[in-house]
Symmetry: D2
Subunit: 306 residues, 4 copies
């Protein structure tokens, strides 16, 4: 039997009756920001970890799986992405991976919480790896939805890297049909978006399936995918939606060729074979998506646990 060798633990509850335990080596930073509770801890299994409101956002050891999954398929789905927009992504790793795409000329990143961005730069510098100082970066602290509503600029790729709502609160307004319509308006003709969409564990599929259903009411191509993120303790879902191109038609060789041509440093998780693994979901998850009818709207939110 495996026996615990630590006595300081971080517990992430993934439901009221399920959780994940991480041995704490040290706590590097704890604060209440204007928006959320923030902890940066060194965990026994995953190294330095960013935790917001008790939920692991990413860890030293496996953040590359999360961020490559979120960024690369969407970026490759656009034939020549020059202008990119990131919603959230405070650690800077989404920005880092976007900027690896050689075609990118400009990337605006909008996060509401300046303190998370600054402390991530200080304690988790490998996440951003200099991306905040890249001349192509335009970092702003404001309400992303409000900005997109008001601007007339367009983007080739928009990446939404924020926590899904688990209870009442305004966060769900970045997961509604109305928001996706705003996003679509701001996309160029071959525009693509991607987002994290919550767990694909079979007993908690509500958020993932409803987000996909909602996207399908707005975009002609919606390509859901999932991958286990070990530090999350559950398989994790993402979705890519585009106005045009469907990445599920590519062969591994086509993906590998695009990676070689367009990404400046070789991904660790993502390649043509991993691409196949990502987009070929189990039958029961596809069935649950087919059966979902709920469309999330500003006036019709979805509270995963209520």
């Amino acid at each position: 039997m495996i026996e615990p060798k630590n006595y300081k633990w971080f517990i992430e509850y993934t439901s009221p009756e399920e959780g994940h335990l991480h041995g704490i080596r040290t706590i590097l930073h704890t604060a209440q920001t204007q928006y959320q509770k923030m902890d940066i801890m060194m965990c026994g299994s995953y190294g330095r970890s960013l935790v917001l409101d008790g939920k692991i956002q990413s860890t030293e050891t496996d953040e590359f799986i999360y961020h490559e999954s979120l960024v690369h398929p969407a970026m490759l789905t656009h034939p020549n992405p020059k202008r990119v927009f990131i919603v959230g992504g405070g650690e800077g790793a989404t920005l880092r991976d976007v900027l690896k795409h050689k075609t990118v000329e400009y990337c605006m990143m909008v996060d509401i919480d300046q303190e998370v961005v600054e402390k991530s730069k200080e304690y988790l510098p490998e996440w951003s790896a200099g991306a905040f100082d890249d001349p192509r970066t335009d970092l702003r602290y404001m309400d992303a939805r409000k900005y997109l509503e008001e601007t007339s600029d367009t983007y080739d790729v928009i990446i939404i890297d924020i926590s899904e709502p688990v209870e009442e609160g305004p966060a769900y307004l970045l997961f509604t049909k109305e928001f996706y319509e705003i996003v679509k308006e701001r996309l160029s003709p071959d525009g693509t978006i991607s987002l994290q969409a919550g767990t694909t564990a079979l007993h908690q599929l509500l958020n993932f399936t409803a987000v996909n259903k909602t996207l399908s009411s707005v975009f002609p191509v919606v390509a859901p995918y999932d991958i286990p993120i070990p530090s999350f303790g559950l398989p994790w879902g993402f979705t890519l939606a585009s106005k045009n191109i469907d990445p599920r038609k590519w062969t591994p060789k086509e993906v590998d060729d695009m990676i070689a041509r367009r990404i400046s440093s070789e991904p660790r998780f993502y390649d043509g074979i991993a691409h196949l693994g990502l987009f070929n979901l189990p039958k029961h998850i596809r069935k649950a998506m087919a059966e979902q009818t709920k469309i999330i709207e500003d006036n019709s939110p979805l509270f995963t646990y209520h």
Copy 2:
């Protein structure tokens, strides 16, 4: 923030600094068998669950993902499996899924722990679903390695459904090169095996990669694959090895045709698309396998956590 709504918890440590928490609704059965500690609990998220020595074996909610992954790819890899041998699999669900293959005429299942089999029949009847009473079943309680060493019978498919060793003890003798050589000798010409091989979480890849390396020293075709089992809290690895046929070459349509023709009731998790998802592993896992040199031998065991 998600808040716990239970006060009775089962903790499964997956490493000395990591664990998974399950809210206990009730404990249906607790015993110390001749070989191990056994608990059958009703957990909040996953329903009835079999726990041996503190480790979840399978749960009501997601056992189908585990058992279909273990059984169906291997069974389809043999063109006409009539005789099947199961090592372990005390809950009876591996046997259940084997017997769904219409070609099967005989299935011997060998488990060392009679008490686990009997209590599983009593408390987890859907796992075996009558399979123990099927006239094709030959259930025996004994040492599987010793039996395979001494018999001259051959089998078309051999499925190894036992826990990987996490510490010193004789269990590792079912994960060594010598054991796989015995198994290979007992296979018919198109013979295939499959086994669960431990987590594929990136910080605990030792067992998975060493088992695959060891199998590669014995079998011409070794096809590793993985899938998240939500109740395990970590992505989980399996391996299929054969004397001849490689299932990774099949298209989804070919898999779906075989399923329709050969399996008596439609799988819930597994189909042609899920097959693609299973066998297309992330790049970093393939890299770790390519770099692994350790071959597990009777005189050279592998202790995952030592």
Copy 3:
């Protein structure tokens, strides 16, 4: 370092940032009664334990400390207790210890939750030890406050054995000045009461001090005392109040003489020396009591954790 040897745990939170962990051997009974969640578990350190709404009520190993502390000092404070009234005390151990007093001719016990009483008889028979079948016992299931308000009967000793309120809800109505006035009206001239009054841990003294302050506004003699109950994980407070006699004036010898004369079987925890230990509280607890001004009233409840 001490290492845990169990993987099933009951967590009793004693505050939102503090708790007590008990290894679960088995769960004997789990139910939602009409009034509360009930668990009867076998815990590693304390044996069979009754848990209501996640809070340990009493355990096989140390219930004698709790019940002797609650019952004997109050019973001895009355010179000749014949008629006794118990509020709550579903396990039957308070009743058992009352009936050990040879002078008792009649004991009414009123508990609101019949299911707790019946399951305690079944799973925890040593707690009541036959007391429910004693001809002096009059057990009723009803609202104790309402009964006391309406009856014109009087009692020599009234023992209040119920959980202190920790949040909103009607339970606090058995801890108010108005309730204590009703109780006082039902007492005979030398009448005495006792009750459990919550922890005396220095950071959670609110309930204990306010209950004592409230009693002091009703009774001429109020004698608070405390004792650690190991399974509660915190020191525990009780209070005795009387119309007349103050037990703090007794010498150990006087207590021992009364015990020998009036109690049919020798107590395990309580004697003359233990009596001194009980009633001589630390200076900081006496100071906190002296400083408390809050009187709990029907219209002015006390929510310990709000």
Copy 4:
């Protein structure tokens, strides 16, 4: 029901099947010293807390109960203590409370772990409150037993403030008959010692009773006492032993008079009434002590949990 409001927890196991949970606000310092694992944490219920090898030593909120209990009764038992010796006590609070006694002219404190002393000064300054800089203090880092064996100096009071052994290891050599004989040799004619002696929880009385039995084989007066230390989660035992005077004979008034005359600042926990509460133990604990026959010797250690 009380619900947890934290997600970072320190677990102190008090036995393999029992523990105490403390919400961690922040971790101020973590290190592996030459001798032990050290954590200084801010806990939700008890403030700053020193934890060695996973065991709480003392906390901001209730250390005064522990240190006053350990120091004052022993100091008052000597009629005129001028020279004091402290074994352990790295936080400096035992020293602080010794130096409050106006008669003290010299106090040697011997701790083996310099790092604990220095980090306590830095992070827990109220514990020592300047005592390390008092001209009467002589602080040394060495093996206390070896020093006492070799010196010919004598002391009026010797206070032993070290963790009881819970497993194999040399720590038990400060709890043996041979060690207590060395200590006795170094005492002046009215000399007194005190020490912490482990929990008095009824299921874990082995250490407390054996230490008392061992002391009784060496000293004419042995006066055990206990008090709940809330942060320890269990009632805690101490023992005072002297060559002559028995403090259990004092009245509260006599104690209060001595405190007023001899202690420079008023204690928070300890006074004449608290003194009575301390030394009047429950009957079942006195019985367990009377039945204990084990004498701990250098060649016959006691392993509480083995």
